[in-house]
């Protein structure tokens, strides 16, 4: 069940990962939060009339009771968050959403486009002890790459695509997917990134299920405002914040 009350969390550590992406380790006060991979938190930007709503941010990792968020600055709210120094308290609501299904003893393929790789890292850490993991990270420029060594430390095989060709193969993530899938027996695929990327991966995967981590503009993040729909193939919408954000892409119209 989704929590009804937000909690205060202090920023323990802030690091800049690239020119646009930063990482926050936060420690929630007086609570045990046990998020599962795929879940997210609604992070309230610092008080400001312009920034009323929470920003949905996935859990990128946990350690004891601490949470890690990896955030790309795309607008006012994420920029405001990026300026907060360590020690600052932030107001967070979560964990929210339905977690990614976990598997055992499988060949797992993780596809992360840009900052989309962040939630897949937490998933990889949970899956690593009992599965064989291959990760594809796709970015525009080599300097946008994050978490490559962290995945390797987990024992995952890591492949990289960059559009500038300075690391890994020159091209986009989906160029690599068919080749990798060809060599994997009964793969389980998880993907997070732009809609076009998810769509392409779902096409390439054919009948194989693809667990997509979806994004949409959200009002509440808790299922009460119906602002975050994605069309179901069977008609109507499901709420990404509640029935998602991780969904079987075969069931939705991207």
């Amino acid at each position: 069940m989704n929590p009804a009350t937000s909690i205060s969390a202090s920023i323990i550590r802030k690091t800049k990962l690239t020119s646009e992406i930063f990482s926050l380790w936060v420690k929630p006060e007086n609570t045990e939060s046990n998020p599962a991979p795929g879940q997210f938190y609604g992070i309230k930007p610092p008080d400001n009339a312009d920034l009323l709503l929470r920003r949905p941010i996935s859990v990128a990792d946990t350690k004891n009771d601490r949470l890690r968020f990896i955030i790309r600055v795309t607008g006012k709210g994420t920029a405001a968050l990026s300026r907060l120094p360590a020690g600052t308290k932030i107001d967070i609501l979560g964990p929210l959403g339905r977690p990614a299904p976990l598997v055992y003893n499988k060949n797992v393929l993780l596809c992360g486009g840009g900052v989309g790789i962040a939630p897949l890292f937490y998933l990889a850490r949970i899956l690593a002890p009992s599965n064989r993991i291959t990760t594809i990270i796709g970015v525009r420029r080599a300097e946008d790459l994050i978490l490559v060594n962290d995945f390797r430390t987990l024992g995952a095989r890591v492949l990289i695509s960059t559009e500038d060709g300075k690391k890994g193969i020159k091209g986009i993530l989906t160029d690599l997917v068919p080749r990798i899938l060809d060599k994997m027996a009964e793969p389980v695929i998880y993907a997070c990134g732009p809609r076009e990327m998810l769509k392409k991966i779902d096409e390439i995967a054919g009948n194989l299920p693809v667990w997509g981590f979806l994004e949409e503009r959200m009002g509440c993040g808790t299922g009460i405002c119906y602002c975050c729909g994605i069309r179901k193939k069977t008609g109507g919408y499901l709420r990404i914040c509640r029935e998602g954000p991780v969904v079987n892409l075969k069931e939705v119209d991207l």
């Binding site: 989704n2 009804a4 009350t5 937000s6 309230k44 009339a49 312009d50 920034l51 009323l52 709503l53 929470r54 609501l93 949409e216 503009r217 959200m218 009002g219 509440c220 808790t222 299922g223 009460i224 405002c225 119906y226 602002c227 975050c228 729909g229 994605i230 008609g235 109507g236 919408y237 509640r242």
Partner: protein
Amino acid sequence: MLAGVKFRNPVIAASGTFGFGLEYRQIAQKLGGIVTKAITLEPRAGNPMPRIAEVCGGIVNSVGLENPGIQRFKTEILPRLRNLKSRLIVNIAGSKTDEFVQIAEMLEEDQITALELNLSCPNVREGGVLLGQNPKLVKNLTSAVRKRTRKLLIVKLTANFVDPAVTARAAEDSGADAVTVINTLFGLVLDENGQPLLGGRTGGLSGPAIKPFALFCVDRVAAAVKIPVIGCGGIMNGQDAYEFLCAGAKMVQVGTANLITPDRSWKIVRELAVICRLKKSVQFKKVRKARCKK
């Protein structure tokens, strides 16, 4: 108390901002009541995404009344709302009088305290706002529904291009027990290319940005009608709620604030209680009289 019905406290979760009360039942229980998302005769898919945009001091939404329709509401949702300790108010919407009447007739269950006629949704083109903008239509519709229901009848008014005091009087004259003032205001949000950002193109503005106007409307409507006014628009904390009561509202509805934190309405109940205690159980009528003299 609202038109002879007792509410445990004066704070109600506004329509569309608390789902159907299923997600946070534990909070719903503690409020004066909850208003469901709008229900229509037939199921509605709602508008395309995106449905929400953040603006300075508020949000603009274009959800477009996504709901499962009255049939499924009755079979799938109502049973799960049984034994709710607070008042259940069902918000109903439609494009014709006939649709409102049909829905009202189908909502006889004891667990429902009141019907709130949504004559003011900016997200449905064919009906909604047009209904609420025309005092004659408000009159016809209210009296038609009045004849078919014994529930508390609340009419939710719009303040978009119409004087809500006039439509409030129309509602009062045709048997409404209370009016809710106000719904969202028309809003347009453009992207960096000058194109509509919302899937429904235009939407409804809510949140702190509309509070002064909502207060103005409550004050005006309260002076024009004898039936109770439920104040709504930009209430984010106990102080805001208190101001609406001072302006003449009998009860308040909280909308946008619920989206930020689901238990925000409950927090408002507690803050309001503290403020009223500090002011030594103010008599809102007196406050209002004193202000009107100035």
